[in-house]
Symmetry: C2
DNA sequence: AAAAACCGAATGAACATTCAATCGGTATGG
DNA sequence: CCATACCGATTGAATGTTCATTCGGTTTTT
């Protein structure tokens, strides 16, 4: 029976190796060795290297998507959802630094076709809905959702990359400051919810 | 006689091809063909493909660095410098979309060694100085310069990538809104310079 | 004992790099 | 003013290596 485990082992190995050696620099043979399987076995699970990377890409997107959905549900007020979402994504990327590099390489590779790009990607859609909701509630600036979404997610990614690439580790208060900064950037300047949001919120849920 | 032109032609070709085909997917032979030189010629100018990419990386960084320096000098007040700098970088990345992908691929490639990372890279240093100045002037939040710098540059990059990858084209007013958003994120919430900065500033300088 | 998972050596294509040959221009000598 | 020697730039076919993929056989599972 096809072990789902093995696929995950391979995925994990690919992420590791891509981080270490880059997108090139990771031949199938090396993946096989590190994952303790034979090269041929990889082709039992995936039709080709390309298919493998595509599946991995989808797999990760689903993970992130799941985090977003789950986190959004766990809070009530918009500001709190915002805070928690930022935090949850940040922690995910910090705990899975390999993902950051993989994504960047992937979207710039020939594998990333236009279909994949404008595809009704669930993650993108979820984030767009999230910011649209904020606009409707008159909390966020009345900007196009694409822009707000990019500002939000881009901010998280920037901080995570800073952590990974520059080894800049944010202290707890600094994280709060940055989330505040992000919040300030997407909300109307005067509009309410000014400090109310500096909630003593609980990390433990997402933390590891 | 060694033509400096030819190096630039090769650089430009590499950027183009990497955008089209990704970092892999661009063999030297293809670069040679597109640049209308023989494969061997490339090795007359560069010791290896690796060296070529390293030089290209430096070359681009210097270009960006030059833009930052020049733009910083062209304005007096900090808010205006901030505005102009954001704008100049944004326009550079919009006009040179190939650069975006190249950078991302490069920093995740095996070529990007630790030396290059923490290296006293002039660009990084300049940006750090710029935000430090802002902190000293009590305009920017008292955060670590690394963080402020990342927030600033990350914001520009995010918007440029949105443009490139999602084909989201910002209208003039939207650009202003985004710069304002970025400004709000790095300045103290209450602190002065609130709207004064929505200067009717002149694009023509950097525009193309 | 059939099927499915797994192995890893073998295959052939693609690649970075090399190098002997050519070309075009510039200095040197008559 | 021509002819000759010289030099670096340029070429592209040849080389050796690396890689993705295949496939005949072996083990494991059902």
């Amino acid at each position: 029976m096809e072990q789902p485990d093995k696929k995950h082992v391979i995925f994990q190995t690919v992420l590791e190796l891509i981080r270490e050696k880059g997108f090139h620099g990771t031949p199938v043979s090396m993946i096989a060795e590190r994952a303790n399987v034979a090269a041929g076995t990889i082709y039992h699970y995936f039709d080709s290297k390309e298919v493998m990377l595509l599946e991995l890409y989808k797999y990760i997107k689903e993970q992130v998507q799941a985090i977003v959905v789950k986190t959004e549900q766990s809070s009530q007020t918009y500001p709190e959802q915002f805070y928690q979402l930022w935090m949850a994504l940040y922690q995910f990327y910090i705990n899975n630094p390999n993902v950051l590099g993989f994504f960047e390489q992937f979207v710039n590779s020939p594998y990333y076709t236009d279909e994949l790009a404008d595809n009704t990607c669930a993650l993108r859609k979820t984030l767009l809905d999230f910011v649209s909701k904020g606009v409707k509630q008159n909390v966020l600036m009345p900007l196009r959702p694409e822009i707000l979404s990019a500002l939000f997610h881009g901010n998280v990614l920037t901080m995570a990359k800073m952590h990974k690439l520059r080894k800049v580790v944010l202290k707890k208060e600094e994280v709060s400051e940055v989330i505040d900064a992000c919040w300030r950037s997407v909300t109307r300047p005067g509009t309410g919810y000014p400090d109310k949001r500096t909630i003593d919120f609980k990390l433990n849920k997402n933390g590891k």
